[in-house]
């Protein structure tokens, strides 16, 4: 796998583990920031992507799974790798169901962790790209006029120009003009493309707002 640079955020209350991990990551060219408590971590500003979180499940105060929930609710799409001193199956299942990338029990092999981190970077980078793309689409969508938006909706539903004209009012000729404006503004190369764009926009609008970057 090609090496992807990025930053790992480590939350573990055992200092010797943090020190050792930092050593390991540095040797691999990975930046690491360590926190001894989840509260500390949640207060910190997130570095530039790609980032990845390595989190111990048994932490004083807020436990790892709760931190995961926190992040999900805040819309932070960080990939999370759980590490733990004593894993039990229910706990790991819960973590995975909540969307964790991986779950490793101590003592883990360094190579395993590095592998998971690299995968995390890739996932994060891909997610960021997707998010940026959708952001762009949203930005473009805003530039549509009201009428253009109406036409957009009907076009992606599969209505013909005549149908659109009958529904909305303007003449077919006008409808054609609106249609081509929409394609241009949204950057769509074909009807199929436009439909995909519409789907992406719909998906985003029904979930949480775009995350901070």
């Amino acid at each position: 796998m090609a090496e992807v640079r990025g930053t790992v955020l480590v939350v573990d209350d055992e200092p010797s583990v943090c020190v050792a991990l930092k050593r390991l990551f540095r040797l691999d060219g990975i930046d690491a920031q360590t926190f001894s408590s989840p509260v500390e971590f949640l207060k910190a500003k997130l570095p530039n992507p790609p980032t990845c979180l390595v989190l111990d499940v048994c932490l004083p105060g807020l436990d790892g799974l709760a931190v995961q929930q926190h992040l999900i609710q805040a819309g932070a799409d960080l990939p999370i790798i759980f590490i733990t001193g004593h894993g039990d199956i229910p706990m790991s299942v819960r973590a995975m169901k909540a969307g964790a990338l991986d779950f490793l029990t101590k003592p883990f092999r360094g190579e395993e962790l590095l592998h998971a981190i690299r995968r995390g970077f890739q996932v994060h980078a891909a997610r960021e790209r997707d998010r940026a793309a959708v952001s762009e689409l949203q930005r473009r969508h805003i530039t549509l006029t009201a009428r253009e938006r109406q036409v957009f909706e009907l076009v992606v539903e599969g209505c013909s120009n005549r149908q659109i004209s009958e529904t909305l009012g303007p003449a077919i000729k006008t409808v054609k003009i609106h249609r081509s404006r929409v394609m241009e503004k949204m950057g769509a190369s074909s009807l199929a493309n436009l439909v995909k764009i519409a789907e992406k926009l719909k998906a985003v609008s029904s979930t949480l707002p775009p995350s901070r970057t």
């Binding site: 050792a20 390991l24 040797l27 004593h86 190579e111």
Partner: protein, 571 residues
């Protein structure tokens, strides 16, 4: 002449079998035949088995004495105050039906019943009150009637004896006197026969009842311990039939050792002394097998106080013992499960404890490997790695030692332990620390003992954990008071409650259950196991451990333990 019982005869109290005849007025009873007949009657009465033959005899004699044409005897029921015909001569169905039950004074019978004196109606036709019965009398064919009451020797009315005459008639005084003799003795004998019958019937009922009880063995003994009664239950329990065992001595059921030591006879003596005696022990069946028995011996007393014998009630305890055993096994199983729970809790902790340093070692080793591969041999870094690895290794081995100490194979047995004593011991041990840290201590255990059945070491662990935690908590307090309270209360009856309260900062009450979870220790060097194990220990013995706190003011740990019954505190 109306004759009442008390006026006629001065008959002294007669012994059964003898006849006393006295003098009445100026006439001497001299006729041989009637006397002979009476004598005959009395002999028969005494030997007769049943009530009804007796009544027939009495009636016959009375009728002979008076040369009557018809006669009947009615028995009196004191509950309903009525008469019922129980014997008759010469009457037919209609008559009997008509006079089936007498409860008013219109007839001669009724009058005799109410007045308790003899009633003579010479001619029923000229007796106004007899009116309602004229027709019956006419059909039956009599004109004259006399009714003589029968009494027992206590003076209670037993019945009415009546004779009837075809023609209007009045018996002569002599006839009446003889009749009185007859009535007198007949009354008493009838009464006795009636009560014998009643007694026999109820004895019979009781016998059947007792016989029938199959679940309890009832065995009657005479005063020297020989068996004189053996019910079905005894037969079932011991296997001996009545024939086998009646007349034998009851020590038959004991083993030879007991017999030699004189145990059976001693039991009888103890029973005699106290009226009853209860004991438990092995008893033996006919086939030689034995069973655990619960035995109750009661003395059977005669009214005059002379003991008549014993009744023994024997119950087979085998089933009961089996159930007790099952309960004990279940209890042991539960205790074992609680222990396993505690152990599994600890096992989780062990793995966590050891995996942390192992992870450090592993990751450092991985880093070292990476360094070697890349040829980045920074000496400072290398040294750091080695130091960390060694430290982690030591930590792991410490953890193992500490946990092993806690888990050391527990071969100690449960004994009777006084919690108060344990508390005092621990407090003595920590008193230097208390002094040193200026912790004011107040101890209130009361004067009673609180004894539980437990392993002393485990109780010491619990008390030590709570006291040590309390000390640590107050040691952090800088501004406020530093105090430690230890108190002993009685919770529910039969339960001791120990309270350990410190004036430390406490914690968030929402976490009060969390602190009993393993690894929740806030101390850097603690295992976080103390409270978890303490709770497991307390719960094994059937108690509870819980905590309450006022944040910033105090923390109170309490645990309850069930006490051994005989040391229930009464404070």
């Amino acid at each position: 002449m109306q004759v009442g019982p008390s006026r006629c005869m001065n008959l002294p109290k007669a012994r059964p079998g003898s006849v006393a005849i006295g003098h009445c007025g100026s006439e001497t009873v001299s006729t041989a035949v009637p006397i002979g007949r009476l004598y005959q009657l009395f002999s028969q009465l005494i030997s007769s088995r049943g009530l009804h033959p007796l009544l027939d005899e009495v009636l016959d004699v009375a009728m002979e004495l008076q040369k009557a044409d018809f006669g009947n005897i009615q028995l009196y029921d004191p509950n309903t105050r009525s008469l019922t015909i129980v014997a008759h001569r010469g009457f037919r169905k209609n008559f009997l039906k008509h006079f089936r039950r007498i409860d008013d004074g219109s007839s001669a019978y009724g009058r005799a019943m109410f007045t308790r004196t003899r009633v003579i109606i010479e001619d029923v036709k000229s007796d106004h009150e007899f009116g309602p019965h004229l027709r019956a009398a006419a059909t039956a064919g009599f004109r004259g009637v006399q009714s003589t009451p029968l009494f027992n020797w206590g003076g209670a009315l037993i019945g009415i004896m009546s004779t009837h005459f075809r023609q209007p008639h009045r018996p002569s005084p002599r006839e009446l006197n003889l009749t009185d003799i007859c009535a007198k003795i007949a009354g008493e004998l009838i009464a006795r026969k009636q009560s014998e019958d009643r007694m026999r019937k109820s004895e019979e009922r009781l016998r059947l009842m007792v016989e029938g009880i199959k679940d309890y063995a009832l065995c009657g003994l005479n005063s020297s311990g020989r068996i004189n009664y053996w019910n079905k239950g005894a037969e079932r329990l011991f296997g001996y039939s009545p024939g086998d065992v009646l007349g034998a001595h009851f020590s038959l059921f004991y083993d030879n050792d007991d017999k030699e030591k004189g145990v059976p006879l001693e039991i009888l003596q103890l029973a005699r002394r106290n009226g009853r005696f209860e004991t438990q022990g092995l008893r033996f069946r006919k086939d030689g097998s034995s069973f655990p028995a619960s035995v109750l011996i009661t003395v059977l007393q005669r009214p005059d106080g002379r003991g008549e014998g014993f009744s023994t009630l024997v119950h087979d305890l085998t089933e009961q013992r089996r159930i007790e055993q099952a309960i004990e096994t279940t209890r042991a199983d539960l205790a074992h499960v609680a222990r396993l729970r505690a152990i599994s809790t600890v096992a989780g902790v062990i793995s966590h404890e050891i995996n942390q340093p192992l992870a450090t070692i592993q990751t450092n080793a991985d880093a070292l490997t990476s360094m070697l591969r890349r040829n980045q041999l920074d000496l400072g870094e290398l040294k750091g790695i080695v130091v960390d690895i060694v430290k982690a290794g030591r930590k792991a081995s410490n953890s193992v030692d500490r946990v092993r100490a806690l888990l050391s194979k527990n071969t100690s047995k449960e004994t009777d332990v006084d919690i108060h004593e344990v508390i005092r011991e621990i407090l003595t041990l920590v008193s230097p620390v208390l002094e040193d840290r200026h912790i004011a201590t107040e101890v209130n255990l009361g004067s009673q003992c609180a004894v539980v059945k437990a392993r002393k070491a485990e109780l010491r662990f619990v008390v030590n954990t709570l006291v040590t935690n309390a000390i640590e908590a107050v040691s952090e307090t800088t501004g406020g008071p530093r105090s430690l309270f230890v108190r002993s209360l009685c919770g529910q009856p039969g339960e001791a409650v120990i309270v350990v309260q410190d004036s430390g900062p406490g914690f968030d009450p929402r976490n009060s259950e969390l602190i009993f979870e393993p690894l929740s220790s806030s101390k850097p060097h603690g295992l976080g196991l103390g409270l978890a194990i303490s709770r497991a220990i307390v719960e094994t013995y059937g108690g509870r451990l819980w905590v309450t706190c006022s944040p910033g003011k105090s923390t109170t740990f309490q645990f309850s333990l069930p006490l051994l019954l005989r040391s229930m505190c009464n404070g």
